[in-house]
Every structure is written in structure tokens, then in C-alpha cells.
Subunit: 442 residues, 3 copies
């Protein structure tokens, strides 16, 4: 089977712009772990790629968890006596503590105080807070807004309103399968539960969407399963409903925070030396760019769930800034301007390079393992010996021949040789065509 | 079983002073590998802790060795013609070559010369020398004393006297068992054969004594066996007499040179990756202090014997300055002032922390291994998500849950997480109490 | 069996000079992968050591290769219209493209151009080029010579002559066996196919020759097989004809570029952790000189063939400058002056030290594995304890005793202890003589 090169004719600049436009389109939607925001987001993804939208009813047990009530919100504000909305959900959806229960009351600042959250170290930014599993209501506001409230007479009464519902409903997630020649799957997962936060994780959503679009245009060896699910509870629900099929997952990546200016970073799967770990490290090493490799740890994004000890799936996490490692993290400063088309495009470029490696990472057996074969006989050798010139392809062939011993895949050989995978693959193709290699059964 | 925290109410400053006072008390006694000095030392230890005193008769074969004759000494001197003691055992017991046979003679310096030992690089210090297995007599003196002798007329005659006995008798060692819930033992060993040398090894003796006192006040998981024996021959005798029971030793530490100002150092057991090696390295890493880790080598203190290839016991050596690594080593300058209460206390503090790790280093199995459990359900999760704040305990819980897979002990998890053992243990306790973990049978 | 110390009475300075004289003697001969040049070289080696000269007929299949026609050359030149040889084989044999087919013609520079090879970055040097497996003819010349031709009128006609033959004949290689007590062999291999190039590889030829001479004067544990063969095709032919006996090769070294001023370098065998790899690394580490260790790679010299996956023999490559890593590589500047007697002698010195290690690298079992034996009883211990003085030999004994546990050879112990092999061996000899060790059957 001839696998299509994923990078062929990939116009990174144009796709970078398109991903960013999609991110800008999704930005105003008020998402949470359940509710209309997620549904609307998934519907818009479905305008780009085929997507099955799954609804899991409130109360459904998923491992140690239970699907919570569905949360929806129409409006929320704090009004001063003059009727001015001093905090207004309509101006930014981060203003409401996520999963706030409804409230409609009049109270002084003293009474309101414990429901207000600010980020004093960045006085202009609204922090992002939620309270999924404890009934609460609250407002997040900038420290400057809070200071203004503090400047009012203490007996000032405010009208406080959160027009939300928290009722039996569903948790919603989306799933897209791009079929390949094999039933083994590569899992691509991103969380879709954050309201107006751009890098975390509209960037991951946009990247996964455009990746799926690209994959659907290619002839693939592996099947690709893209999961767009609310963080934690969504991934847990997906795992619970797919527990019987997890053995088909050969590799996986969580995509998150892939649009900011930081260098690419990769957090290894719990296994630590899985094929996906080697593939990403190889691509980053040869990218010519700075990058960071992080060991697995049981916090971060949904690699926590995929890498829980009962599953231990080979799923790593591709990022730029890791969570918490950029000052705008979980604040209103994580807006569309923090993410740039060029960084989204760079993340796509690296992601596609990783998948190219996985798609073509097969093993061969050298059919002439005693001494080197006479490459010249097969037209595989520059006729002139002497000074080494332009011998990189020949070098790659020698590496492939020497290590195609039944114990090394092409990626293993590329890593040992310190030669980019693409060169090693070109060499293997030429040797295979010349009848010097036989493919190992996977 | 609830194990007592060894550190509870441990007044380090007071215990440091007490250890130093005990060291000062033991300092004047003239110990050797046999004889009354060792016996007297053990009797004084027995004023602090229960101690069995064992006597092994001269001539007893112990592996490749034989218990030597017992050495005792009453007096020794070199007198000048005027009757002045120019070298006097009563002023410092290092003045006599250890195990000197008796002598009573008159001779010139020329005849005496080959029996005199000095340390020219430190002209005021008396070196420490012994001749256990070759019959000899001699005096150790400062280079200044020697220079004074050289300044006398060459025909000056000296009265030389060593009033020692070397006769059939016994080798003496002491042993104390602090029983715990299990019959597995932690071995604590220190050498008691050095005359007036403070850091090497009255410091180790004082530390072992006060540790045993402390242990006897606690409810323990392991039993602790403290061995106070002469170096080399004493440890060999102990091993020979306990050969049938060595499989009960789960971990062990030799304590030596634990009172000087150098940072703590640890020489690994021959196994190199035993639980004791990991425990000490973990405690030193998180101590915030400088420290040194040394690989096992077959010289040093009695870890040489415990780590001989026929036993290969997991016994390391806890020190501050390693032997030979401080200028005062094996000279009269290794006196009570070289050892400070604060360093003894610091050594005790680290030793106790190591034993805390061993006492509590158990393994658990995560009973909810598929995805993370919902910690909030068990009251184990801060209700507010969002910005990571004060999440260290939650982090520790996530590490414990993820790696309680049957292959990792709490210490393994603490090392992987880079989190102090005490936090990991607190997390495990909370999770166990919540029913999320079951203890593995050891 | 008492093995002779290879270094005894080895007059390195004299042997260095002798090796260099031999190199100067061989330098003018025009060698190639077949033909009289190789034969003449082997005949001169045979004046120093016993040597079997093998002739493999043209057309013989050797694995994937076929022995090529034999190439011989009498003369070659480019003459200008005045009859001057502007390029003359008689002045330097590198002037002819190796394996050039015969040619006799008159042509202009335009027609000649594609047959001319220069090295523009070093305008005074003649490059070394060959065309073994594609029929071609050509001349190699300095860029200055080429510039002079370019300065002539374009219609100048040159007489071009290569008086060579390319006919059925033989490939020739030489083999010398220095028998030892055991039939296991150490393989020493060097390539003999280069024309007038001194470091690459007359240096290797001279070193192998004088090594064999030295070995023949010694009582040896291993047998040594020295192979003097043309690069690639010669090694392949040797492997094909000896395939049934390769299991007797216990270790091996390719010798190449061993005479230049660069520090010694060692390229590991494909196995990477074979005894030869450990032995060379140990010797270089303790040499006090700079050195370089290189991982195996499937290009370089004939370690490529010995280390092909069908054989995977433990054969590394001892060099100074690796191929391609010195500017004179494969040019006329690699002449006898690039190689100095002192560097040849240093390479011999290190090579002999490596073979000393292999010859004496046996394993012992400690017959008193429980505690240390009482070394004093066997006369193996300085009688005076106390300050550590002159205790290196005792230290080496303790290392040997502790690790002679059936799992460690003397080289393993020397590496673990960081003590030179010779000290460890001396200690083992003393302990063995004292009855404390028994030799393990290899």
C-alpha cells in the first residue's frame, strides 16, 4: 500500500490563517463541561469534518464518576444602584464562575465578597474559575473592577443575577474516525470545555480539526480517531464507553496550548519509551528549533486519564507552553491575540511530521546480511569512490542494511544513526525496491 | 499497626548536647580490638540502653580469622636520664602503638628509633598506629617530641616501658535488639575499637546509643539490631556467630565519623540499588543541605564485611567526612572539639528521617485504576478548580494513585515524583482511609 | 600457563623508527584492490613475518560480490604538443584514477575535461580517486596543474595514455597466524589497497607487521590472526572463505590511520559492549593521553563488514585521525611525512596494552567469600595499620576479592575500581598464589 505523504502540497501559511480564523469564530462561545456551548462548538467543527456527536445522560456512571447535571447560562451581572452592570457576563463569559448555580439577589459588597474572584498579580485580567462538583455561585473580575467596588460606600446594594440552569441533561462529546488500511488507531484528543480561552484550548481544537481535514485527503496506514471531549469527565466518559476497544490504540496525542509563541514541548506518555515518544522526540530533535521534553506526570491534560494505571495507553501530550507555564494561563489574557497563525502552523507541521513517522515506521529484514551488498550492482552507489561527497543517501542505506536485523524499526535506525527519518525511509524504499530488504510483518 | 513517628517531640538540640557529653565521657578510655577498654565502653552504653555483652574466647575461629589474644595496658613511657617521662601513655593513650607487646629496657635513641612513629606533616599531632597481627612494640609521638629527642646527645640512654599484657582472653562486643512488629531487622553497626579518637568513632557510638534509646520509645514496624563491635575482627565474629540469621536483615547502616563539620555523606551498599540506598539518597536530596553519595568500594568500615560477596547484605555507611578525608583522621587532633553537638544532632535527624522512610515504605494497589477517581467525592479535592494553588497534597495523591500499580513502593513513587516521602505518605494515608488503596502484602 | 608480557623489553623508539622505515619502503608501490602492487606489498611483509598469500580468481562469487578483473598499470601520462608530460604517473601514482581502463588517444582539453579530477580547496594536492565497478578512465591532478592546462590555447591537442590492463586474474590477500595456547583467535585486520597514501593505510600495515613480529616472540594465551587484505572486497573475500570458522574470533581490531599526530581514537564494535570495547576504553582511559571514543557506525573501514548483521563480530577499529577527519585524507598530502615514528610507536604501545588486557582477562572465584580473608596470614598485608600509606596493592586485592564472585572478570573489576588492569592482575596473581582464588573455566 502506498501511503500518501501528509505534507504534500500542505500550504502551512494558509492553513495557519484558517486555523486562527476558526479559533476566532469559536472564541465567544461559552463552553463548559456540559451544555449548549460544547454542542455549538462541535456543530461548527462538523462544518469541517464528519463528526459523531455523542450525548451521555446526566447520572450515567463512568468509572468512579457520574455524569453531572447539564449547565447552561443566559446572562449574569452585578448591577450598581444606578443600574449599571459593573460586572457583565455579556462582555466576557469568564466573568461567571463556571457551573455557578442560579442566583437573583440584592446584597452589599460585604455579603458579595466571598463570591468574587480576582487575580491581584495581573490587575487588568479576569481569572478563570469553575466549581463543577460543589454547588456554588460566583463572579470573576479584574482586580481593577474589584478596587472600584471597594471604593464605593459600604452600604451600597448591588443587584446580583446569574441566570443559569443546572438540570438533568447530557454531557456531549464529538468523535471522528478517519479510516486507514489498518484497524489500529492513532488517537488524537483535545479538551473542548473551556469558555473564552484561546490557547487553552481553542488552539488544540483548531489543530485537531484541520489535521482531520488533512488526514481525510490521504491514503493512510493507520486509522485516526479524533476525540473532542470536555476535559477530565469527557475523557473519562469516552474511556468508559470505549473500554472494550482500547487495544486498538497504537499511539496517541493530546493536543493543548499549541498556538502560543513558546517552543514546542512534548510530555511523554506514561510508558515513556513508546513509539509515539520516540517519534515526537525524533521530529523535535531534527526540527532545528528549540523544544522541551517533559517526563510523564499524573497531572496536566487528559493524558492523565489515558495514562491511568488501569489503561497505561501510549498517549503523550503535544504543546507549546505547558499549562501554568505562561502568565496568561486561565485568564482573559489568553485571548485570540496570544495565539498566532504561524505558531498554529508550526504545531501542525510538527504534528504532521510525527504522523509521517508513525505511518512509515515499519521494520525490514536485510536479505543480504553477510557483509554489505554491492550497492553498485543495484544502481544504488555513486560510481566514483574517494572523497566523500553527497553520500548522505548512501550512508542512510548502510544504516538501514546494518540494522534491519529483525530488532530495529526504521525509527529505531533513524535514532541510532542521528539521520532524519525521511532520509532513512527513502533509503529503505530504494533498498526494498532493489530486493535487498523484506518487510517484517507488524 | 500504627507506627510511631520517630521524630515526634525529638528535641534535637538537647539530644545533640547529650550525645556530645557521652562522647566526652568515653573519650579517655583506651579501647582496642580486645580488652578492658571495650568492656568499659560497652558497660557505659548499657547505662543508656539494654545491651547484651558477648565474649568470644581467644583462639575461636571466625571464617578465615582467629580471635586474637586479649590486650590490656596499664602504663607506658619513655623516661630520660633525669626521670622525666618524655613520652607518657598517661597523657594520651595514642602514645602507644596499639597491641604493643610488653617491653622494659634501656636504650639509646638509635636503638629506639625504629619503634617511634610520627606524622611530620602535622608536627604537633600524635598519629594513631596499631600492629594487631604482627608482634611489635612502639610509641607514637608528635614530631616536636621527636625533634626534642633528636636534640639530645646520641649516647643518652632512655628507660622504655610498656606495661601491657597480651594473653588468652576474649573479644567483646555488644548487641541490642529493639523489637518491632516484624521479625525483619534493620542492622545498625558501629566500631568500638578506637582509643581516644572522637569523630572516628565515638561519634558513631554516641549516635547509635541515642538512636536505640529513641527507638525503644516508639512502636516500630521493623526490629532494630544495634551492634557495637571492634572493627573488622568484631564484625567478622558477629557475622560468624549469626550466619544462620542474616536473612532477617532487610537493610543496614554502618555509622562512623558522624560528628564533624563536613556535609553528610553516604556510601552505598554493595547492591547499590537496595531500599536503604534509595532511602538515604532520597532523604539527603530533600534535606536542603549539601551531601555526597559514594559508590560502594571494598574498603572503609565494616560495610566491607557485610558486603563481602558471600553475604552481599544491603548495608551502607552513613558518615560526614569519609575516613581519610579529614586531616585530623587517625591523629590526636580527632578530639572532642572536632565533633560538635549540632553535627551529631544533624546526623541523628537525617538517620531518623531515613528510618521513617523504611518504617513507612509500603506498597499499595489503586482500587480504582481506570482513570482518576473523583477525589472530590471522598473529600480529597479542593472544590475550586482553575489556577493551581496549594495543590501539593493533591499532586502527591495523583502520583500515589497513578503508580500504586503493584510495582512501586511509596519510596519509588516519591523518587519518581521528586516529592518528599512524608508528603507521599500523607497522601497515601488519606487515599487508604478513603478506601481507594489496598495495602500490598510485603 | 605463563603468558609473556608483551611489553617486556619493547624498545618503542626503535620500533617506531623501524615501522616508519618500512612505511617509506612501501610508499612508492602502486597498490589497488587487485594486481601486482598488493602482491609486492605482501612479499615485503613476508620478509618480516610468516605470511600465507592467498589468490582468489576473478569471477569468484563472494556473498553479494564477485571478484573483479585484476588491474595492473605500467605507465600513464598526458603529453602536451611539445612532448612534455604535463601529468605523469611516474611522478605520483595518485595521478591515475584507480582501476582506469586503458586509453591511448589525442584530444583537446574540452574532450579531456570530464576525465580530470582536482581538489580545488587544496590547489597543490593531487586527490585520490578510483572507479572500481564502473568502467572509466581518468587522471587526478592538482588544481595548479589544471589551471596551467586551462591557460593553454583551447585547440591544443594532448596525447593521453593509460597503459593499464584489466584482465582475468586474482585478488590477493595475506594471512598470518601466530599460534597461542588456545584456538580462540584475536583478529587484526588492515587494508592494503591504497596506492601512495601513508597514514591511510601504510601506517596500519606497518603496525600490524611489527605487532605480529612481537607476538611471535611471546608465549600467548590466544592465537592471533593477521589479515592484510584489500579494503571491502578483500575483507568480504576473506569472510566468505572463512565463514565456517568465524566463531573462533573472540575479539578483533581493524588498524587504520595509526600514524598521524591526532590523539588515539577507537570506534566501538557493533556489539558496543564487547570485551574488546571495554579493553580499549580501559587502556585509553588510563593512558593519561587525550583520546576519542566513537560509537559503531556502518561506514569507515572493514569493521563494516565484520560488523554486518549476519556476522556481528566483536571487531572495533583503532585509529588516530578517523577517515575524512584530517585534511590530507585521500590526497597526495598523506605522504610519509604526515606519519611520525613517535605516533606509530604510541599506537603500538596502546595496542600492546590492549592485547595484554585480553591475554590476562580471566575470571576467578573467591574461595573465602564470607568476610575478607585475613590477608596478613598469607603475607599479603602491610603489618602496620593506621594511616593509609602505599595501600594501592592492598586496595586492588580487596577489589579482586570482593568482585571475584563468578560474575566479574579482572577487566570488569578494573573498570569498577577505576584501577589500571595491571595492578588488578598483580593483585589477582598474589591472591591466586596464596590459594584465595580459583580460576574460573572460560
Amino acid at each position: 500500500m502506498e501511503v500518501t505523504a501528509l505534507k504534500n502540497d500542505l500550504d502551512l501559511e494558509a492553513v495557519g490563517e484558517a486555523m486562527h480564523r476558526f479559533l476566532v469564530e469559536l472564541y465567544p462561545i461559552c463552553r463548559s463541561i456540559t451544555g449548549e456551548g460544547v454542542r455549538e462548538t462541535l456543530r461548527r467543527i462538523r462544518q469541517h469534518i464528519p463528526l459523531d456527536i455523542h450525548e451521555v445522560p446526566t447520572g450515567t456512571p463512568v468509572f468512579d464518576w457520574t455524569i453531572p447535571r447539564e449547565w447552561n447560562i443566559r446572562d449574569a451581572y452585578i448591577k450598581d444602584p444606578a443600574g449599571n452592570r459593573v460586572v457583565d457576563f455579556r462582555s466576557h463569559n469568564l466573568h461567571v464562575l463556571g457551573y455557578s448555580v442560579p442566583v437573583k439577589a440584592t446584597m452589599t459588597l460585604a455579603q458579595l465578597k466571598e463570591h468574587l474572584f480576582t487575580s491581584p498579580e495581573h490587575p487588568d485580567w479576569i481569572p478563570y474559575r469553575t466549581s463543577y462538583y460543589k454547588e456554588q455561585w460566583g463572579f470573576c473580575l479584574s482586580q481593577r473592577q474589584r478596587d472600584a467596588l471597594d471604593g464605593q460606600p459600604p452600604d451600597t446594594e448591588y443587584e446580583v443575577c446569574i441566570d443559569s440552569t443546572l438540570e438533568a441533561g447530557h454531557l456531549t462529546y464529538g468523535e471522528s474516525l478517519v479510516p486507514g488500511a489498518r484497524s489500529d488507531e492513532i488517537l488524537i484528543s483535545c479538551h473542548v470545555c473551556h469558555p473564552s480561552l484561546a490557547n487553552d484550548n481553542l488552539s488544540g481544537i483548531a489543530l485537531a480539526t484541520y489535521l482531520a481535514e488533512r488526514l481525510s485527503q490521504c491514503t493512510l496506514r493507520y486509522s485516526y480517531r479524533l476525540v473532542f471531549a470536555p476535559g477530565t469527565i469527557g475523557a473519562i466518559a469516552w474511556l468508559a464507553r470505549n473500554e472494550g476497544h482500547l487495544d486498538r490504540i497504537r499511539s496517541g496525542l493530546v493536543l493543548a496550548c499549541v498556538g502560543d509563541a513558546a517552543p514546542s514541548s512534548y510530555k511523554k506518555s506514561r510508558q515513556g519509551d513508546a513509539e509515539i515518544d520516540h517519534a515526537v522526540e525524533h521530529v523535535l530533535t531534527h526540527s532545528g528549533d528549540e523544544y522541551a521534553l517533559l517526563e510523564f506526570s499524573p497531572y496536566g491534560y487528559d493524558e492523565r486519564q489515558y495514562g491511568s494505571p488501569g489503561f497505561n495507553l501510549p498517549v503523550g501530550c503535544l504543546m507549546r507552553s505547558p499549562p501554568g507555564a505562561f502568565p496568561e494561563y486561565h485568564t482573559s489574557a489568553d485571548g485570540p491575540d496570544l495565539v498566532r497563525p504561524t505558531y498554529l502552523a508550526d504545531s501542525l507541521n510538527k504534528l504532521v511530521a510525527v504522523l509521517e513517522v508513525l505511518e512509515h515506521n515499519v521494520g525490514y529484514r536485510n536479505l543480504k546480511p553477510k557483509c554489505e551488498p554491492q550497492l553498485g550492482k543495484y544502481g544504488l552507489y555513486g560510481a566514483l569512490g574517494g572523497k566523500a561527497e553527497g553520500r548522505v543517501p548512501e550512508l542512510a542505506m548502510l544504516w538501514v542494511l546494518n540494522y534491519s536485523d529483525g530488532a530495529h524499526s526504521l525509527l529505531d535506525i533513524a535514532r541510532k544513526a542521528g539521520i532524519p527519518f525521511a532520509h532513512i525511509k527513502r533509503a529503505a524504499d530504494a533498498l526494498h525496491e532493489a530486493g535487498l530488504l523484506e518487510a517484517l510483518v507488524d
